[in-house]
């Protein structure tokens, strides 16, 4: 009991020395921070390395062209991109509403928007079914009026992806709007620009990096969507079977195929993120 504090005190001495030296050499990092940091890095990178190491490289070309793989990849890329477009069209105005107006209920709206962020996606899928399903509030009306049923269609995949991914975009854009200098907008207004003109000519260019960042996050989230998709859109090759669904199905029968599919998703995600990071996000 009485010796309980000793190791902590001894350990605390080390970083204080390191901290003093850090002023001279910025490379000196306290061990107590370096160790968990490296463990954290390893924990995040090792599973990805595992995918690369276990990949059946010798049979990779045949597996990449195996029936269904390209279908799933194309479907994933198309749906994630369309979903992101939908999120931009609806999400940017929503973010503007939250950041630039003082409509009543704004706080509640912001809280509600973040719900899909933390909601298990499969719950989102059930919720979508209850609204847009054949017996859903909106779905039954669509069915009766236009003869449209959404579940099990590619549209359903896009809706599921947009549902889980839009909050990422809204939050990113709202943050950018709050960080942007309103004086530019005020100046535009003083010079006679209407609200719409100010929005398109001043606000949008001002927060374009924020929109790009949000769109990338949104796209990546949409690309990885699984739970809401399989619940709301089902699983049918070529129509609703996106890459994550194909990975899961392959896992049940053919581990190597699952690894190859995962590898493709990893490569696509990394390529897009790296490419966009350099171009628009202004990161070094």
């Amino acid at each position: 009991m009485s010796t309980r504090n000793q190791p902590a005190a001894g350990a605390a001495a080390a970083p204080s020395v390191g901290w003093r030296r850090q002023r001279r050499s910025r490379h000196r990092v306290p061990l107590l921070l370096l160790l968990p940091a490296l463990l954290g890095l390893g924990f995040l990178v090792l599973p990805l390395a595992g995918l690369v190491i276990r990949a059946p490289w010798s049979t990779l070309p045949e597996r990449l062209t195996a029936p269904g793989v390209l279908d799933a990849l194309r479907l994933s890329l198309v749906t994630a991109t369309v979903a992101t477009g939908l999120c931009i069209v609806l999400g940017v105005p929503l973010a503007w509403l939250l950041a630039r107006t003082d409509l009543p209920g704004r706080r509640l709206a912001r809280a509600l928007i973040t719900v899909p962020l933390v909601l298990p996606p499969v719950v989102g899928g059930v919720a979508l079914l209850l609204v847009f399903g054949r017996r859903g509030i909106v779905g039954s009306w669509l069915d009766a009026t236009f003869g449209i049923t959404l579940p099990f269609t590619t549209t359903a995949v896009i809706l599921a992806q947009a549902f889980v991914a839009m909050p990422f975009l809204v939050i990113a854009v709202e943050g950018a709007l709050r960080g942007a200098d309103v004086r530019y907008e005020e100046a535009a207004a003083t010079l006679g620009a209407g609200r719409w003109r100010t929005f398109t000519r001043v606000t949008i260019p001002l927060v374009a990096p924020g929109i790009a960042a949000g769109a990338v996050l949104c796209w990546a989230r949409a690309l990885g969507e699984f739970g809401a998709t399989i619940t709301f859109a089902g699983n049918f090759p070529g129509r609703t079977q996106t890459m994550p669904l194909a990975v899961y199905q392959a896992l049940e029968t053919d581990l190597e195929a699952a690894i190859v599919l995962s590898l493709i998703l990893l490569a696509v995600s990394v390529t897009i993120l790296v490419g966009l990071r350099g171009r628009w996000l202004g990161a070094t």
Binding site: R134, P151, L251
Partner: protein, 247 residues
């Protein structure tokens, strides 16, 4: 083998202590096909009543994913699959301890909403493009059986979804999103608001359910006792009550 020769550390396994002919203790982890959900839950309760010191834990999912999990080293004591082919992927990988035993049979039906609103009478009716059909993916036993039945009937069906296990297929029907689903008789019987339409081709697609104690079992005596219990009169009665044919 490697798992058993662990270091002599402090955490003694209560399961290992049970060995010999003393009363069974510890936990039995049973990986079972999704179609066994209700019947095995009941068998588990009865087994726990007969062996108060043992607790049974179930993992219900599609047989194929369970087989993969077992072959990847999931800590399971017993595996009950919905067809011999899936069981074979486990025994071929050396994950089984001894020969699997057949404990039940199951047959496909066309599950429809109560009152059969779309008027489904045979497999041929499923080929109508107006009828939305859910099937199991062919990697799981119910999907393999459905493929056999449809091939036997010479019927070409384009399902709207291929689900990962029979319960997923059934849920698309109970949610009202499809008009018909090919599921086991037992699954159709387990759900409220669902009626079963028999079809002759299902005779050609009967699934035998095998069960086996796993080589990596942490609690072999209790695992063996559970398998015996499934094969016992009370276990078979519970299965028959759920609509299984018992051997």
């Amino acid at each position: 083998m490697a798992g058993c020769g662990g270091s002599p550390d402090a955490d003694a396994e209560p399961a290992a202590a049970a060995g010999g002919d003393g009363p069974l203790t510890g936990e039995v982890v049973v990986f079972a096909a999704a179609s066994l959900t209700e019947s095995f839950a009941r068998i588990g309760d009865e087994f726990e009543a007969a062996h108060p010191a043992v607790s049974v834990t179930f993992n219900f999912a599609g047989s194929a994913i369970l087989a993969q999990q077992i072959n990847q080293g999931a800590p399971a004591d017993v595996f009950a699959a919905a067809n011999p082919a899936t069981m074979q992927t486990v025994t071929d990988a050396g994950s089984g301890d001894g020969e699997p035993v057949r404990f039940a049979r199951n047959q496909l039906v066309i599950a429809v909403a109560d009152g059969n609103p779309v008027g489904i009478g045979s497999l041929t009716d499923l080929a109508d493009p107006e009828v939305k059909v859910a099937l199991c993916g062919e990697q799981v036993p119910c999907g393999a059986a459905a493929r056999t039945a449809l091939d036997t009937a010479g019927v070409e069906v384009t399902p709207v979804t291929l689900e990962r296990d029979v319960r997923g297929t059934l849920s698309k029907l109970t949610l009202g999103e499809v008009d018909a689903a090919l599921v086991y008789r037992t699954d159709a019987a387990s759900a409220a608001g669902v009626a079963a339409v028999d079809f002759p081709e299902s005779e050609r697609a009967v699934n035998d359910y095998p069960i086996v104690v796993l080589a990596g079992a942490g609690n072999p005596p209790a695992a063996a006792a559970f398998v015996d219990f499934v094969l016992s009169e009370s276990g078979q009665a519970a299965l028959a009550q759920a609509g299984f044919q018992t051997p």
